[in-house]
């Protein structure tokens, strides 16, 4: 059975050419960039060329970029570095953060910091005013993600940064503004200087790069919790993954060069999806505001990630049924009892409705997704949802 992959927000297949070259590099370019001999120097050269390439793509200084083992580490390094700065203070997080950031909130809470959450409006977007309301002179950090990984809402990072900066000026305090931009990079334009955050986190495997690779942008040098051999300007000690770093940068280059074309393709797929599913009873865009497909929604949501609400049908059940038909999709939440709230946390924080939180599926595209993939998905969804709705509706009779 041919598989249709519609879960690109979870991970994406690597570009075959880049994967092949990367594999060869593991065999041939195995040097440690810290070594003084020629094999080490060769590795060092690739590392610095790669960094330079990224710095030109992101329009930042090379010294502001730190290669990491992935998005989670790129999120963790700047936030945990706060522990070295001050033993108390307040941290403001959005309630829709990926668990890589959200779970750090629990850690800070356990260590005695005060962690405040900012909830989005019903459209899944965090308003700068809402962030502003949570700030106080004790605030040491703010973290708001760029593109939400479950529903695709784009947060107004630039405006939030502006609020944070103006609060800093008025109160003579210093706040670190971190942004998890894992789902944004290579999909929509991301220029750290324009966005105005102090640090941004990126991950390679979300844009056809290799797993186990990530990138941290940091405006100023930070002192991380971990210490070691001084690699990556002492911000991420540990021997660098040269073939991975090279492949990360090559993939970023490819995607960036084709970004506009791929973005329009994603918009077409989204429109096709909407045309097809709006005919199906019991299926809606989530949040509902997305369904308008007007210019406002165009700017507020990534076309690459689409959440559909099937409530009261559990998204998890629908995902299994479609999997049996060879279609891979993601779920917004799982139906599992004890972790229910946790796993449906993002949607729940938008709707406060458990049934809706349970009834979400996520469709996410990539450059190789085709219109006929979407049609096959819509056709299968239409067929299956009928039976599933019958099963579930019965309960409320």
């Amino acid at each position: 059975m041919e598989t249709i992959y519609l879960d690109w927000a979870a991970t994406s297949p690597m570009e075959p050419d880049i994967a092949t070259q990367m594999a060869q590099m593991y065999v041939h370019t195995y040097g440690n960039p810290s070594s003084a001999h020629s094999i080490g120097r060769e590795a060092r050269e690739i590392l610095e060329k790669s960094r330079k390439l990224c710095s030109s793509l992101l329009k930042v200084e090379a010294e502001q970029l730190v290669f990491t083992s992935g998005g989670t580490e790129a999120n963790t390094i700047p936030l945990l570095s706060l522990l070295r700065k001050t033993p108390t203070g307040e941290i403001v997080l959005s309630s829709i953060e990926h668990s890589a950031v959200y779970e750090l909130g629990s850690l800070f809470r356990n260590l005695g910091y005060h962690v405040k959450e900012v909830s989005p409006d019903t459209d899944g977007i965090i308003r700068p005013e809402a962030v502003r309301k949570k700030l106080s002179p004790k605030t040491i950090a703010v973290a708001v993600m760029h593109v939400n990984n479950e529903i695709g809402s784009i947060q107004p990072i630039q405006e939030i940064a502006r609020e944070v900066r103006s609060f800093e000026n008025e109160n003579s305090c210093r706040i670190h503004f971190h942004c998890d931009a894992v789902q944004a990079l290579a999909k929509i334009p991301v220029y750290p200087e324009v966005l105005g955050a102090d640090s941004l986190a990126f991950s390679g495997h979300k844009f056809r790069g290799p797993k186990g690779t990530g990138l941290l942008y940091t405006r100023k040098k930070i002192i991380p919790l971990s210490s070691g051999g001084g690699q990556e300007f002492s911000m991420r000690p540990g021997t660098e993954n040269i073939p991975g770093i090279w492949a990360f940068c090559e993939s970023l280059k490819q995607r960036t060069h084709q970004m506009e074309k791929e973005y329009s393709h994603a918009c077409e797929l989204r429109d096709t999806l909407w045309e097809q599913v709006k005919e199906i009873e019991g299926v809606e865009f989530f949040p509902a505001q997305r369904g308008a497909l007007d210019s406002a929604s165009e700017l507020s949501y990534s076309p690459y990630i689409i959440a559909l609400s099937l409530a009261p049908v559990p998204g998890e059940v629908c995902a299994r049924v479609l999997n049996d038909r060879g279609i891979s999709i993601g779920t917004g939440s799982a139906c599992s009892s004890n972790r229910e709230k946790k796993r449906g946390r993002v949607i729940y924080s938008i709707t406060s409705d458990e049934e809706i939180a349970r009834g979400i599926i996520r469709i996410s595209f990539g450059p190789t997704t085709t219109k006929s993939d979407i049609e096959a998905f819509s056709y299968s969804l239409k067929q299956e949802i009928k039976l599933l709705r019958k099963t579930v509706r019965h309960r409320s009779l």
Binding site: P312, P314, E316, V317, R320, V321, D324, A334, C335, S336, S337, N338, R339, E340, R343, K390, T391, V392, H394, R395, S396, L397
Partner: protein, 395 residues
């Protein structure tokens, strides 16, 4: 070098003329549970000895700790019947108890219990105890004698050879599995049912297990979890067949035809009927469930009266009188708890009414049952149940 274990069994010795039947069952179960093929299991003079190359010692210890019928067991030293050699072996026993940390650091008390079935041995039991006791006190400054509640009980048995061992480990006790017939355990993936299986196996019941898989409403992860649970209790059951019943069609039929508040009870009755069909096929004669009185709506007295009437077989519910905390405590002891609470329960909430019946009337429920016309679905589900053999051996 070989490690030798002496196995003690308690309740079996009460069985008078049936004793050998129970002992043979126990020996057979040990054979099944002990993975090491080169382990020898001997049954002589009312004792079972397990002898195995030393590298298998840990595996055999685990097997003995998980085989019902074993009340206690000791890693023994077998030496020639020579008092000097016996002394050295006794010293080694104390050394290994110290190494294991099973006696307190610092001063400790001990007692020697000597038995001599070989009357040709030149010393009497009392003399053996005195001689070894004196020797141990001179070797270990921290040891003193306490005949009433010693930290170390050392046993010296002069039989065909001399056996020396200290502080026996506890076995799970109970009766050998298979000595009390065979049953079918309804395993759900929750906390209760593995414990129910464990308790009935302890009374000698051989068990096969049944799981109702309502795919896609329940996940493959939920099935994997049940397999894992069956794996954890499998050494106690001396291996088990896990029957995975495809239950979706029956479930949907019930859902389609029954009143929402009756769905759960009719579903339970359908499961009992399918389990009974599998029991007939497996030559089992009872069902076992993890129900506990009034724990949930389907476990009230009235609900159990109805679901129980779905089968002519006895249904054992060993957790009936336990509260949840007690069940959780047992699950922790057996090692199923952490797996049982994994979050892959299922989506069967979509089949559960918000207000299910608490006090169903059996006659009204059977009328509702008849409107389901579900017999063919049940036959089909039992027929298509997939069998997985879950190995007993301790990994």
């Amino acid at each position: 070098m070989n490690a030798i274990f002496l196995v003690k069994f308690g309740e079996l010795s009460l069985k008078k003329e049936n004793r050998s039947f129970f002992e043979k069952k126990l020996k057979k179960n040990l054979r099944q549970n002990i993975e090491a093929r080169d382990a020898q299991i001997k049954h002589t003079n009312g004792r079972i000895y397990v002898e195995t190359p030393e590298e298998n010692e840990e595996q055999v210890t685990q097997a003995l700790a998980h085989t019902f019928g074993v009340v206690g067991f000791s890693r023994a030293r077998r030496v020639q019947k020579n008092i000097e050699i016996i002394k050295k072996a006794a010293k080694k026993v104390i050394d290994s108890l110290c190494e294991e940390g099973s006696i307190p650091a610092g001063p400790a008390t001990f007692k020697i219990e000597a038995r001599r079935t070989d009357k040709s041995f030149p010393l009497s039991s009392y003399q053996i105890a005195c001689e070894i006791g004196d020797y141990l006190r001179s070797e270990f400054g921290m040891l003193s004698v306490d005949l009433h509640s010693p930290d170390i009980r050392m046993y010296i048995e002069i039989r065909e050879e001399a056996f020396i061992y200290g502080n026996p480990k506890k076995g799970p006790a109970g009766l050998p599995v298979g000595s009390a017939g065979k049953g079918i355990l309804m395993l759900s993936g929750g906390i209760d049912s593995p414990i129910a299986g464990h308790m009935m196996a302890k009374r000698g019941l051989k068990l096969d297990t049944v799981y109702f898989h309502t795919y896609p409403y329940t996940s493959e992860e939920a099935l994997d979890k049940v397999k894992k649970l069956a794996g954890i209790i499998s050494p106690y059951l001396v291996g088990t067949n896990l029957f995975v019943v495809p239950f979706t069609e029956a479930q949907l039929r019930i859902n389609e035809r029954a009143l929402p508040q009756e769905v759960t009870l009719l579903m339970r009755a359908a499961m009992v009927k399918i389990a009974e069909k599998i029991a007939h096929r497996q030559r089992a004669h009872c069902l076992v469930t993890g129900e506990s009185l009034s724990q949930v709506a389907s476990q009230t007295l009235e609900s159990i009266t109805f679901t129980g009437s779905a089968s002519n077989m006895p249904i054992f519910r060993p957790l009936m009188g336990l509260d949840k905390e007690e069940i959780i405590q047992r699950a922790r002891e057996i090692g199923t708890y952490e797996t049982s609470i994994l979050p892959y329960d299922d989506c069967c909430t979509i089949f559960t009414a918000e207000h299910p019946l608490l006090k169903p009337k059996a006659d009204r429920m059977w009328k509702a049952w008849n409107t389901l016309e579900i017999e063919n679905f049940l036959d089909d589900a039992a027929e298509r149940a997939e069998r997985h053999y879950i190995h007993p051996r301790y990994r």
